[in-house]
């Protein structure tokens, strides 16, 4: 085996799942776990915020949008800094780097989920809401039983592309020394100092397979507009 490939082969377990045998999750597997955990959190928080924004007017709505713009206006790396340093300072004790990265990514992504969900709700035809209200449903029932189910199905492609961005964003965990794929790859590179091209191309290929697969999925979902299956 040529030495350029041998370097990957000898470190393949470390790159893919870190020191899993010693109980320390790392590498690609940790990247995926971080993305999944923060994705689920961001989806729940983002949809909850969208519901809040849907019903609120005036100051509450303005604060929500200001909050979302603020988060989107600063580099993600600073959101991670804030969670990593501010949470222990406010509540005492230390939180593990992995947890702070999950919280930071969830916080950052929930703003985007809120925006997409709101625009998904607004894209529904106005007749849907009026018809639901005229059958005697309350505003809350209308949203939960009529509008959200339709909007959420239409929104599946945009949620999937947000998840692909989330996978790429997990690479920023290097800033607080979390051993996910990018961190582990740069450790291997620092230790060997020999074949940076192979190491970083391999790392890029791992992300490419995951995110490229997801964007293919998005394209297929977009081609066939999904219709609600219960009508």
């Amino acid at each position: 085996m040529p030495p350029e490939l041998d370097i990957i082969w000898r470190n393949i377990d470390y790159l893919l799942w870190g020191r899993l045998a010693q109980g320390e999750l790392g590498g690609l597997l940790l990247s995926v776990v971080i993305a999944l955990a923060s994705g689920v959190l961001a989806l729940c928080v983002g949809i909850a915020l969208a519901i809040l924004a849907w019903f609120s007017t005036g100051p509450v709505r303005r604060v929500l949008f200001l909050w979302a713009d603020l988060i989107r206006g600063i580099p993600l790396i600073f959101v991670i800094f804030w969670v990593y340093f501010l949470v222990p300072a406010l509540f005492g004790g230390n939180i593990p780097g992995t947890v702070s990265v999950i919280l930071a990514l969830a916080w950052f992504t929930s703003a985007a989920v809120m925006y997409s969900t709101l625009s998904g709700l607004q894209a529904l035809s106005g007749g849907q809401r009026e018809a639901a209200l005229s059958t005697g449903l309350s505003e809350i029932q209308t949203l939960v039983w009529v509008l959200l189910p339709q909007a959420l199905i239409n929104l599946v492609p945009s949620y999937v592309s947000l998840f692909a961005s989330l996978i790429k964003d997990t690479s920023l965990a290097f800033i607080v020394n979390v051993p996910e794929l990018t961190m582990v790859a740069s450790q291997v590179n620092n230790r060997t100092q020999l074949y940076p091209t192979t190491i970083f191309l391999f790392t890029a290929a791992m992300y490419f397979v995951l995110c490229g697969g997801l964007s293919l999925l998005v394209r297929r979902l977009m081609r066939r507009p999904v219709t609600a299956s219960w009508d």
Binding site: L70, W82, L90, A164, T203
Partner: protein
């Protein structure tokens, strides 16, 4: 709360000096990378919408490659791998002292860190800018290009005079958003040792542990820069001629 806030540790002496040069470095690398991004975006867009199938497929592949890998990994690739593949003569020249190419505040413009950051940010953003403009083109009604063709316009002439001006007007806000994104992404150049705002903020944090204050100042600097950039770029927004109103607020972050 378990901490007290003291901004004097950040806004005086050496830390203040670091922050100022960091701020300047962020501005300089953002401008340089924006120029690279604009140039590459034009080339990519040209290939992506050309009449040659090979050019279209090649450009599409390149775009997918850059869109589906993390920017940080791309940056590390350019700095640790691609730089080493350059001929020794060029590497030695880049590594040498260049007093003529040093920006006030001791910011070296010809250094591996600055060149890798500028190139990495430039090509990454170019991909997104080209795709935003292409999306603007695809959103135009089919009648526009058919009308141009029936008037005798060729492929490039109809693009230049009929389609691209409309596409640019439609996608202007999203394109501005991509340049703002470039500025925010420059924070990741800290990973390869470019001494911009984020690098300096972390230096202050390890120098006198005024972490919270340093992060607060760093955050405000990025917000300020984003607001200023957004205002400046939207001032150049093309006027719509179809009577539709401009949508969106001042900060297209």
């Amino acid at each position: 709360m378990g901490f007290s806030v003291d901004f004097a540790g950040v806004l005086s002496g050496a830390p203040l000096h670091w922050l100022l040069t960091g701020f300047l470095t962020t501005i300089v690398v953002t401008i340089a990378a924006s120029l690279v991004a604009s140039l590459l975006a034009v080339i990519l867009l040209g290939l992506r919408i050309s009449e040659s199938r090979a050019a279209r497929v090649g450009a599409a592949g390149l775009i997918e490659l850059f869109r589906n890998t993390p920017f940080l990994v791309q940056m590390m690739f350019w700095y640790f791998a691609a730089f080493g593949l350059l001929p020794t003569g060029i590497r030695d020249w880049i590594n040498a002292e260049h007093s003529w190419a040093t920006f006030p505040g001791n910011i070296p413009l010809v250094s591996p860190e600055f060149i890798a950051s500028t190139w990495g940010l430039g090509i990454f953003s170019a991909v997104f800018i080209a795709e935003e403009i292409r999306a603007g083109l695809l959103a135009l009604p089919k009648g526009q290009s058919e009308a141009a063709q029936s008037q005798g316009f060729g492929h490039w002439a109809s693009l230049r005079f009929i389609l691209l001006p409309q596409a640019l007007t439609n996608s202007f806000q999203s394109v501005v958003g991509q340049y703002l994104n470039l500025m925010k992404l420059s924070s990741l150049a800290t990973a390869i040792g470019l001494a911009e705002i984020t690098y300096q903020v972390r230096q202050i944090e390890s120098y006198n542990s005024h972490a919270i204050e340093a992060f607060a100042v760093g955050t405000s600097l990025y917000l300020l820069l984003g607001l200023a950039m957004g205002r400046l770029m939207l001032a150049f927004a093309p006027k719509r001629r179809d009577g539709r109103n401009e949508t969106g607020a001042g900060n297209a972050a």
